[in-house]
């Protein structure tokens, strides 16, 4: 069978890439991590989870009562603990189940992300990682978001995850993913492969809230494939301390008149290194992309990358990346890149890094606010701009995360 031969070939490539360093980010020795448990107990509903686990979910924007959600999926270490869909028009199940259920899954499984991209994709491939499969059926306008949570439970675990989202023609889907660490887990690693397919005229609004802890390493690998007239909105929020994140989601905008927007807001606390990129490859005529990044370094390091590649006429793009350094020891590196391969396109960027504007702080102080309060308000406003244009329900989640962030002591 061709499929089996293909799989063997991929496996060979993955084996060969076992030691392959990633293009960006500090290297991580995978031998120092064990696989996550695959047999944790399942629950019927998220309210059955321990109170502490529910709290962890909530902090990452995942609602235990599942109110106002179209479906839920929870992965702990490498066990699918819960998976459910509450409305017609959207399917939520483990990828392993979708592979059994649908023969056509071969067209999507490891088709956007290469197993041999680096050691992290290779490990995820050889582990045959599970993850969420979410599919909006053709024409389905899924009003409430599907929520997913990827939680690290065990010490020293390298959690491998493989997610696939398919938004069929004309469908609309919101997905909120909260990534978090269970209390007491010090050192662990999250490797997450995500392959998103957005069909003709479809929309995917994807929000990811990263809520890891001080010693966690994170290496997501995400590729989005867009067909004609499709829309992809990516909202990325990382406000909590973490050891290292390196991510570079890439939208392959293959269809005509595609639109994509990447909003990122992040804080690099002391000891955190965030290497955050967004890439759009616009090979379909008339496609557009916007990238907005708002990052703060409060002692940690931020590398904000953005790359737009224009390969077709009438492509337009704008990249805006702003970084604040609050206090001593923080580092901000902004690397915007524009590549044009045809004459009839327009792509622009603006990048700015530096300290918070003193005149703004004093303006608020002149209204009776303390300096800390003034800085807090300006910083929240700064981050807020990074998530503008989101649907209200999603924005509320992120606003809450920003509210919870202690910006006074920065």
């Amino acid at each position: 069978m061709q499929a089996e031969a293909d799989h063997r070939e991929l496996k060979k490539r993955a084996e060969a890439a076992k030691e392959k360093r990633a293009a960006f980010g500090e290297d991580i020795d995978l031998d120092n991590y064990r696989s996550g448990s695959k047999d944790l107990e399942k629950v019927e509903g998220l309210m059955e989870l321990k109170e502490e686990e529910q709290r962890t979910l909530l902090e990452a924007g995942v609602i235990p009562s599942e109110e106002g959600r179209s479906g839920s999926f929870v992965l702990m270490d490498e066990s699918v603990v819960h998976s459910s869909s509450k409305v017609q028009g959207v399917e939520v199940m483990p990828v392993s189940e979708a592979l059994k259920k649908y023969g056509w899954m071969e067209e999507y499984y490891w088709k956007a992300v290469s197993p041999d991209a680096d050691k992290f994709t290779a490990r995820t491939f050889t582990e045959e990682a599970d993850g969420y499969f979410i599919r909006a059926l053709p024409g389905a306008k899924v009003k409430a978001p599907v929520q997913t949570c990827l939680m690290l439970k065990g010490k020293g675990v390298a959690q491998t995850v493989h997610n696939i989202v398919i938004v069929e023609e004309g469908a609309e889907l919101d997905v909120v993913t909260g990534c978090s660490t269970s209390k007491g887990v010090e050192k662990a690693l999250h490797l997450g492969i995500s392959e998103f397919y957005i069909k003709k005229g479809a929309t995917l609004n994807f929000t990811m809230i990263h809520n890891w802890s001080e010693q966690i390493g994170v290496r997501p690998r995400t590729v989005i494939v867009q067909e004609d007239n499709s829309t992809f909105i990516n909202n990325y929020v990382a406000l909590k301390p973490v050891r290292t994140i390196q991510t570079y989601p890439t939208a392959r905008m293959e269809g005509r008149n595609c639109f994509s927007r990447f909003n990122s807001v992040a804080i690099a606390h002391k000891g955190s290194e965030l290497d955050l990129g967004s890439r759009a490859i616009m090979s379909g005529e008339g496609s557009r992309c916007e990238m907005i990044s708002r990052t703060i370094a409060t002692g940690g390091k931020v590398i904000a990358r953005g790359q737009m590649i224009g390969k077709a006429k009438n492509v337009r793009g704008h990249l805006e990346c702003r970084g604040l350094i609050l206090g001593e020891g923080g580092v901000q590196i902004a690397i915007p890149e524009l590549e044009a391969y045809v004459p009839d396109l327009e792509m622009t960027h603006e990048a700015a890094v530096g300290k918070i504007a003193q005149d703004q702080v004093e303006y608020l102080m002149a209204r009776g606010l303390s300096e800390d309060e003034a800085v807090g308000i300006i910083v929240r406003g700064f981050l807020e701009v990074g998530i503008r244009g989101l649907p209200e329900n999603l924005k509320r989640e992120i606003d809450k995360a920003i509210e919870r962030t202690d910006v006074k002591g920065m």
């Binding site: 504007a357 003193q358 005149d359 703004q360 004093e362 303006y363 608020l364 102080m365 002149a366 209204r367 009776g368 606010l369 303390s370 300096e371 309060e373 308000i377 300006i378 929240r380 406003g381 700064f382 981050l383 807020e384 701009v385």
Partner: protein, 250 residues
């Protein structure tokens, strides 16, 4: 309420104020005239305590206390409020939130916005894309929320259209006549130091005393309406003569 004694101020290494003396008594509204660049705005910004305005000599006394070295917040909390000429843009902070935090939730933004016709600006980022007149109205709402004892108003009428000028003027009058103010216990009269070029604001507020500034100094003082008349007739060149007159009077 406010006494400025021989105030010398540098901005970016340049001497801007060169020995300013003036005072504003409780219940009084005093007006500052003077040509562009004479140091009027610098004086207000220095009273508020903004960085970049370096006091090299002299004192600022507020209600008997030397506030020359206090922070902006401390001055605001003692009852000083300012309407700036060019306030900075606060991207990501909307006017509603600004009113709430300024007023410590004492006033309802929607209600405060009615008088100044600013309801549609409540969800906008403070000052971002505001016209000159809109900035004035936004500053006034914030001042209403803040409720200071001493108002430092930098050209409250400039850029304000003919219809809005009445709203702005009436609001300024209303604020100045309010009984109590933040930072003080009990009823005391409020006071104001107002910069004006056109004098239009004088149609709405009763000004008690006028000062003319030239080249970083107060050149003369007197009845504000008379001073305004004199300036519009003779220009600011009369400042020097005026200074001589002031010296002889004092």
């Amino acid at each position: 309420m406010l006494e400025i004694e021989n105030l010398h101020v540098e901005v970016g290494g340049r001497k801007i104020l060169k020995g300013v003396n003036l005072n504003v008594m409780s219940g009084y509204t005093n007006v500052l005239f003077g040509p562009n660049g004479s140091g009027k705005s610098t004086l207000l910004m220095t009273i508020m305590g903004f960085s970049g305005y370096k006091v090299t000599h002299g004192k600022i006394i507020f209600n008997g206390e030397d506030i020359t070295n206090l922070s902006v917040t401390e001055r605001a909390n003692r009852g000083i409020g300012i309407m700036m000429q060019r306030p900075p843009n606060l991207v990501g902070v909307n006017l509603r939130n600004m009113i709430k935090v300024t007023g410590k939730n004492r006033i309802v933004p929607e209600e405060a916005a009615v008088d100044l016709d600013m309801a549609r600006f409540l969800d906008r980022d403070v000052n971002v894309g505001f016209s000159g007149g809109e900035i004035k109205r936004s500053e006034l709402i914030q001042l209403e929320a803040q409720n200071p004892c001493l108002y430092l108003l930098d050209e409250p009428e400039s850029g304000v259209d003919l219809v809005s000028i009445e709203r702005v003027g009436n609001k300024v009058r209303e604020l100045l006549h309010g009984a109590s103010c933040a930072g003080r216990k009990g009823n005391i009269g409020k006071a104001a130091l107002v910069i004006t070029h056109t004098g239009q604001i004088l149609d709405y507020i009763e000004a008690d005393r006028g000062y003319v500034m030239c080249n970083g100094m107060v050149m003369c003082s007197g009845n504000p309406r008379e001073l305004l008349q004199e300036i519009s007739k003779m220009g600011y060149e009369e400042c020097i003569k005026c200074k001589l007159k002031l010296t002889t009077v004092n």
